[in-house]
Symmetry: C2
Subunit: 191 residues, 2 copies
């Protein structure tokens, strides 16, 4: 998606260690209009797959997942990383390594909001190794839901996440696909 | 706002200790359409105050703040509760007691995204004691920004937050104002 690629090229910062900082429009400050356009784009790409729910992980997946859900007319569930007191004792829980936190984090969903037979579209901000998204897929499968697709705003193709998800037979779409950040230069797929 | 009040009456659960569980449409599963309507309502109520940025706190403030920002055509910044590695060393940081966590939490904003002279509209899911929102106000003032208004989806009038904010001369709007949850019954202001 041209608009997102251009924004990453203009405002993204490569911090080293494979970290792309997009805090000025995705992760700390959010460009609401851009998120809306990204949500509309995801909604169009996945429109025919008949999702019944959008699933993401707190925190930075919430914005693109919400706008996607809005354009699809669906509810969105975000997996929690700490269990709030409002959640029942019995939950779906898995562990996933966090790239930006350097440790394992819990992903927790209440069985109240993810149930057998649902068709789930997973939306997140980044697809890198796929660790968080694979965690969400495990939670969905534990609940007896079917994962019908995975969408990420920004993919780093050189970290292998897409292959791991496609190996499960799940379609993957990313709106900006980065093939290299070598030498401080961001290169997009097809450019 | 009638739509939100009706939804709280139908799907909200009183858990005791003054906790109102709205996890099925605000806090874990989010009704994207309802959030959009709430954002539109906030945008209308604050339209004339000339905000330049919407500010909230992760996690559950993000959805209503994003839709409000969308309707106002503004960016939204969400205060982080843990400092990500993408954030500079020098930050705005304050502590606020968390009702649902039972401990103090940090609220952190990068000086990159909140600057002198900005006119800030704070949006959050709940206004109870006002502790989180007062923390956001302190961060805004530390940055030299002017807080032009505070909007909350759900206010519990019996916890005193509104008075603490209004004492600072800041206008407060809530979309569903609960005056009592005694005996397991939710009573709204004016009903």
């Amino acid at each position: 998606m041209k608009e997102l690629e251009e924004r990453i090229q203009r405002d993204g910062q490569i911090l080293g260690n494979g970290i792309l900082k997009v805090d000025s429009f995705v992760n700390h400050q959010v460009d609401a209009g851009l998120m809306d356009h990204c949500g509309r784009e995801f909604a169009q790409r996945f429109a025919k797959l008949g999702a019944t729910k959008v699933l993401t992980a707190e925190i930075s997946g919430i914005a693109p997942a919400l706008t996607t859900a809005l354009h699809l007319g669906l509810p969105v569930v975000y997996a929690r990383k700490t269990k709030p007191i409002t959640m029942p004792d019995q939950v779906y829980l898995t562990l996933a390594p966090s790239h930006t936190k350097g440790r394992m984090v819990e992903l927790i969903i209440s069985p109240e909001y993810l149930t057998h037979g649902e068709k789930v579209l997973i939306i997140d901000d980044f697809l890198a190794t796929g660790a968080t998204i694979l965690g969400l897929i495990r939670l969905g499968e534990a609940a007896g839901a079917k994962i019908i697709g995975v969408g990420a705003l920004i993919e780093k193709t050189f970290e292998g996440g897409r292959a791991a998800i496609k190996a499960l037979g799940i379609p993957v779409e990313s709106l900006a696909s980065i093939t290299s950040m070598d030498g401080g230069k961001i290169v997009f797929n097809g450019n």
